[in-house]
């Protein structure tokens, strides 16, 4: 039983009204932008709805847009409805001054490590996460490396001369 983009859009607009900011369809995948306060509720509605059944969390990550003041960090969630073969992208923005958002671990067990990785790379705190700590980097690292202001290289290394490496 296939569902259409219009069905999803109508249902979400009916349930959340102004909290949905925009719909778009880059490269064939429906993308929903919404206010960050509704993060858990939207994902729960999509998961528990009997027609949609978005019960597979494909991925959760973040993107840093340092130039957009007040909405620097984007949290992108990809959901997949296996029965309907429908993929969906959800995006919400938060400010990097108070980078907090609800955790999805109550809905998907797989969100645990995805959120830990997002915290490790961007510093976003997921409220309600059972065990939010760094996962890939060393525990005593004091910055969140994937933010745009940090360089790729370890700035304290002395064996490589930046002049020869094009930096």
């Amino acid at each position: 039983m296939a569902i259409s983009k219009e069905q999803v859009q109508d249902k979400l607009s009916a349930a959340f009204g102004d909290n949905i900011l925009a719909y778009s369809e880059p490269y064939g995948m429906l993308k929903v932008e919404y206010k960050a306060t509704e993060h858990y509720k939207i994902v729960r509605l999509l998961k528990e709805d009997e027609t949609f059944r978005f019960r597979f969390l494909t991925d959760l990550c973040a993107v840093h847009y340092p130039d957009e003041a007040g909405r620097e960090l984007a949290i992108v969630t990809h959901l997949h409805s296996l029965e309907n073969n429908f993929r969906l992208r959800l995006e919400c923005r938060i400010s990097d001054k108070s980078a907090e958002i609800e955790s999805l671990t109550g809905l998907f067990a797989g969100a645990n490590w995805m959120e830990r990785e997002t915290f490790d790379f961007f510093g976003i705190r997921f409220t309600g996460h059972p065990d939010l700590r760094r996962i890939l980097n060393v525990d005593h690292m004091d910055f969140h490396p994937l933010l745009k202001q940090y360089p790729l290289e370890d700035s304290s290394r002395e064996d490589k001369d930046d002049r020869f490496f094009g930096r």
Binding site: L136, V138, Y150, L152, E153, D154, R157, K160
Partner: protein, 177 residues
């Protein structure tokens, strides 16, 4: 078959110097510790397999315990998180011990000039032979092992007591009793 060292031969006896015999014995029975972290580890598995067969060179028994290994083969990227583990493994090895750094990542950080990768294991442990490549072909790894064998044959018996060696370990901060 390996070549016999220079010596006096007679009816039922062969006389040569002790360090040559021990060097020969050590070189042809190196027990490696495959410290395989990433892609070079898969090329090592191919080297160990029947096509390239590292066991011909005496490395029949892979020791995963550092206390029973002669040769520490570091294959793959060493991240900064892994550095203390590698150091601990090296310190647990008993003398005589040699280190071969296989692959570009272990030798110098490789293509990963990033905040999380150790730019070469020789920042934390002394290395004897570097094998470049990404990943090196099995023939190159075997060439590296053969170079180690040359080093081992020529090594003095009491290297651990020599002042240069002690100074080298001291420069890495490795304490030896």
């Amino acid at each position: 078959m390996v070549e016999a060292p220079a010596g006096l031969e007679g009816q039922g006896f062969f006389a040569t110097s002790l360090d040559k015999v021990i060097g020969l014995a050590r070189a042809n029975s190196m027990w490696p510790l495959p410290f395989a972290t990433s892609c070079c580890g898969i090329e090592f598995m191919a080297t160990m397999g029947s096509n390239y067969d590292l066991a011909r060179f005496g490395s029949e028994r892979m020791s995963f315990s550092p206390r029973q290994a002669d040769l520490l083969m570091v294959m793959g990227t060493i991240a900064k998180k892994m550095g203390p583990v590698l150091r601990q493994v090296y310190e647990q090895m008993a003398e005589p011990r040699w280190v071969i750094s296989v692959g570009a990542c272990a030798s110098s950080g490789g293509i990963f000039d990033t905040y999380s990768v150790l730019q070469g294991i020789d920042r934390i442990i002394p290395v004897d032979v570097y094998v470049p490549g990404c990943p090196p072909r099995p023939e190159q790894i075997i060439d590296g092992v053969m170079k180690i064998q040359e080093l081992v044959k020529a090594e003095s018996l009491r290297r651990r007591n020599q002042p240069e060696y002690k100074a080298l370990l001291k420069s890495y901060g490795i304490e030896v009793e």
